[in-house]
């Protein structure tokens, strides 16, 4: 081991953070603790665990040692104080909102989000009495204008799905700080290898592990990271953290758990009561994926830049929206927030419109036509006919998913093969 005071680098953390050898067997790779429950040492130990007076394992809905390694791993990679693994990226978002919002409260969210998140916020949140107010990352003052006394948080994506949009995290973090509300950043498309939102003032990070962190298209999962920066006790706006909790004999979570209280609130109130726990098997697969995250992300970015450059010279292509391209609208922001590469997901427009999009996704042979991103395999989709179908035409265009738009998630195959497949797809009559 390097000496204790050395700060390990990103690749080292990707492999080692959270994963000491198993304390009972010495197993070097984190075991899959495929169990619902854990025996108590004695009655007193059980009481201490349920009362949050000691650290430990009770029941896999609340915590599991395999999932815990994943939580610490991602928290370490993001530079946060603690993590919480849940069943999906969407579950991570709901659990975060549940800890912050009460009926009648508002959240301010970027218009440029994954279509599923727009649906979740527009429709499902209404049933909880949480109201979303949309703001435009291309018009930063619109965030400030959207903030009211009822606002409890701001939600953005670092690199937004599907459009290859880079959000100005630092500028929005300043507005959040001024308003006294936390900034939540969905860092799914960037991963901490490309972008570290806490360095720019984010307070909470959410991930869909399903994408690049897992990286192999085999597991759905989500993760919440607590930045440890937000003062939950400044006013009474966040009673889950600052007020005595009836669920736990009057414990005040912020006072008791300090700079990782938000992650604890999400676990012992949100995950415990709403229930979307991650399976330890999925946690194991994602952990294995993360071990190679820096290698994979760099190759994803290098392949993607080559594909984007090639597409931008094609006669069938009207435009390419990839912030890694020198002329792109978001190139400057990409250089600041994602200097090693602008990710592997981007969109381009076909001169032939909706029909040309449908034709391309039907004729490719290496690219898989499916509704995911962040796989070793190259993926293609025509959002207007699939993921963004539920949105109105205006919302489609706003979210970067108009009728002519095709989205790629460029994989880790040889870039020559990826380009050859697009070439044959585009020339198919």
């Amino acid at each position: 081991m390097p000496d204790a005071e050395r700060t390990p680098g990103f690749a080292t953390l990707s492999i080692h953070a959270g994963a000491k050898p198993d304390p009972t067997t010495g197993a070097r790779v984190t075991p899959i603790y495929q169990t619902t429950s854990f025996v108590f040492d004695d009655v007193d130990h059980a009481a201490a665990l349920f009362g949050l007076q000691t650290f430990g394992n009770i029941y896999t809905r609340i915590g599991n040692p395999t999932c815990a390694v994943l939580e610490e791993r991602v928290a370490a990679l993001e530079g946060g104080t603690a993590g919480l693994a849940v069943a999906s990226g969407h579950a991570a978002q709901v659990i975060v909102m549940h800890a912050l919002m009460t009926p009648g409260d508002e959240l301010v969210a970027s218009k440029k989000l994954y279509g599923g998140s727009i649906n979740q916020m527009n429709h499902s949140y209404k049933n909880f009495g949480w109201n979303v107010v949309w703001a435009d990352p291309d018009d930063l003052p619109s965030f400030e204008k959207a903030i009211t006394p009822k606002t409890k948080c701001i939600f953005i994506e670092s690199i937004a799905n599907p459009g290859g949009i880079i959000t100005d995290i630092e500028a929005i973090a300043k507005m959040a700080r001024k308003a006294g509300v936390p900034l939540i950043v969905d860092n799914t498309l960037a991963t901490p290898y490309l972008c570290k939102p806490f360095d720019y003032g984010a307070d909470i990070i959410v991930h869909s592990l399903t994408k690049f962190l897992g990286g192999h298209g085999n597991s759905i999962g989500g993760l919440i990271v607590d930045g440890g920066t937000f003062n939950w006790s400044r006013d009474k706006k966040y009673p889950m953290l600052s007020e005595p909790r009836p669920e736990y004999q009057g414990i005040i979570l912020h006072e008791t758990f300090g700079n990782f209280a938000f992650a604890i609130a999400c676990r012992v109130l949100g995950l415990r009561d709403l229930g979307p726990a991650l399976s330890p098997f999925n946690a194991f697969l994602v952990l294995t994926g993360i071990e190679t995250l820096p290698l994979r992300m760099q190759r994803h970015c290098d392949n993607t830049l080559a594909v984007a450059e090639w597409l931008s010279k094609r006669p069938e292509v009207l435009w390419v929206s990839y912030p890694g391209l020198a002329g792109d609208k978001y190139h400057k922001l990409a250089k600041k927030y994602s200097p090693k590469g602008a990710g592997a997901v981007f969109t381009f427009g076909l001169k032939g419109g909706y029909d040309a999009g449908v034709k391309l996704v039907s004729s490719v042979k290496l690219f898989s036509h499916l509704a995911n991103i962040g796989d070793t395999r190259s993926l293609i989709i025509h959002p207007a006919s699939t993921t963004h179908r539920q949105l109105s035409d205006a919302q489609k265009v706003q979210a970067g998913a108009g009728p002519d738009v095709v989205r790629l998630s460029v994989g880790l195959e040889d870039k020559e093969d990826i380009i050859a497949d697009l070439e044959q797809g585009l020339s198919t009559k």
């Binding site: 005071e5 000491k20 390694v69 928290a75 300090g258």
Partner: protein, 180 residues
């Protein structure tokens, strides 16, 4: 001593050396952080002595409560201060008058008094401020990793069980040369 950033070895050597801890300002209420920390450290094998002038009538977790540090009839290795910063100085001054003197003054999360710290350091005591010994024990023993907290420690050696239950881990050995 840099009180913004303690090395893991500094903290580990303190928690590995001290055996008797007097906790000043402990609450008898089961839902208070001081009670949590007291109970946790008691469970990890420390001799814990509660100090609170308003609570001497009844023991806390079977431990007799003393009104002041000077009332404790046995040597104390560490004084753990669970009072807000403005109350720290007289407690440190009283600690320094004890014979034998404690080896460590520890101030809880959010508690800090640099003047009191330098008084104690001048006569050879170790000082920790704005930290919780329960959290630090949990972090260095890896127990805290069970609840997804970033322990900021990496190791290819397995954590050792404390031997008093399945879910109680030991701190591991301190590296003497770095335990300044």
């Amino acid at each position: 001593m840099n009180h913004d950033n303690y090395s893991d070895n500094y903290i580990r050597s303190i928690l590995n050396t001290v055996k008797t801890i007097a906790m000043v300002g402990i609450s008898p209420k089961e839902n208070r952080p001081s009670y949590f920390a007291f109970k946790y450290l008691l469970d990890r094998g420390y001799r814990m002595i509660p100090v609170n002038p308003g609570q001497t009538a009844k023991p806390i977790l079977k431990q007799k409560v003393y009104a002041t540090l000077s009332d404790i009839p046995e040597p104390v290795d560490m004084v753990d201060i669970f009072r807000s910063s403005e109350h720290v100085l007289p407690i440190v001054e009283e600690s320094l008058r004890l014979t034998p003197r404690p080896q460590v003054i520890w101030m809880q999360l959010t508690v800090r008094d640099d003047e009191a710290a330098s008084l104690a350091e001048k006569v050879g005591l170790k000082v920790v401020m704005n930290r919780c010994p329960k959290i630090e024990y949990g972090r260095l023993s890896s127990e805290i990793s069970w609840i997804g907290v970033n322990s900021r420690t990496l190791s290819s050696k397995r954590a050792q069980n404390l031997g008093t239950g399945l879910q109680r881990m030991s701190l591991g050995k301190s590296d003497k040369k770095d335990a300044r």
